[in-house]
Subunit: 144 residues, 2 copies
DNA sequence: CTCCTTGTGTTGGTGGGACCAACACTACCG
DNA sequence: CGGTAGTGTTGGTCCCACCAACACAAGGAG
């Protein structure tokens, strides 16, 4: 492998974005094998944790743009992993609910992600893993 | 802000990719103000640090695909920040060199990035910054 | 009750970054 | 000499993040 400019490797912004590239490859490879994408997991997870919700709510909870939620929920509905029905109490709003198939898919993806975390953090001892998570959380919280 | 599913926030892969989103916003906002993009910086930095190079070399050093180097170098050449001439010793190969304007642009972008690092790591004391950088480097090295 | 603001779903489009396949061509090595 | 590896280039794909605009519904202020 060729040498990388020190200007890049010295910068936390480089470390984070480059590491994110590898993480995304790991995650999306795993998800692709299960016929899914990142947005799908986020939405299924939000539905499981907070129950049925409108698309706008899902978007806010998952950090996904409204317009992208439309597409993702549409795909999940086609796969039968989600039900999308008009909210009876509200003319325009939709009510998205998790189906049995959706729950099964969520569990499958959880297993994928567990393997990814293990692979990702392989070089770090337990204590360093906790430290890394803590620092990342701290920085992330500051930018939200 | 709405609550994010715990399934997501608990996972290092989420922390890294989400933080990377914020980082990229900071960086690309700064670069856009200078009329540039991430690929430009990488290439200028590699040229400054290792001297003139072929496009293939640049791609390997900057972790950019050959085909994307073509476009980026083309843009840099149009901006006069880089010279692209055929390598005299090798029919097909190009020789890319940094110009004065390119060096000035590189310095400008360095300033942008310095501000970004400061902004990014604002919530962390000096020691935690070093720890974070060390851990990120360690994990990143393992995946290359 | 009407008007205005807010929220919602939806369409359609942009952009960056990371890739891949294929081709034409050159250099180099066995 | 012939095959292999390297190079530049074209032209795609994909995911994720984001924006603008529209149509419509709900709810509060006057």
């Amino acid at each position: 492998m060729d040498e990388i400019p020190g200007r890049l490797t010295a910068k936390p912004s480089w470390l984070i974005t480059q590491l994110a590239v590898h993480v995304r490859r790991l995650v999306s490879d795993g998800f692709a094998a299960a016929g899914a994408r990142g947005y799908h997991y986020r939405i299924l997870a939000a539905l499981h944790e907070f129950g049925p919700a409108s698309q706008a709510e899902l978007g806010r909870r998952c950090r996904v743009d409204r317009s992208d939620v439309v597409a993702a929920v549409g795909q999940l509905a086609e796969l039968g992993q989600v039900d999308r029905t008009p909210d009876p109490d509200h003319g325009r709003r939709n009510r998205v609910t998790l189906t049995e198939a959706g729950l099964r898919q969520l569990r499958r993806m959880d297993e994928v992600l567990d393997r990814v975390q293990a692979d990702l953090l392989a070089p770090l001892p337990e204590e360093d893993r906790r430290t890394l998570a803590r620092l990342l959380k701290q920085v992330l919280a500051h930018h939200e």
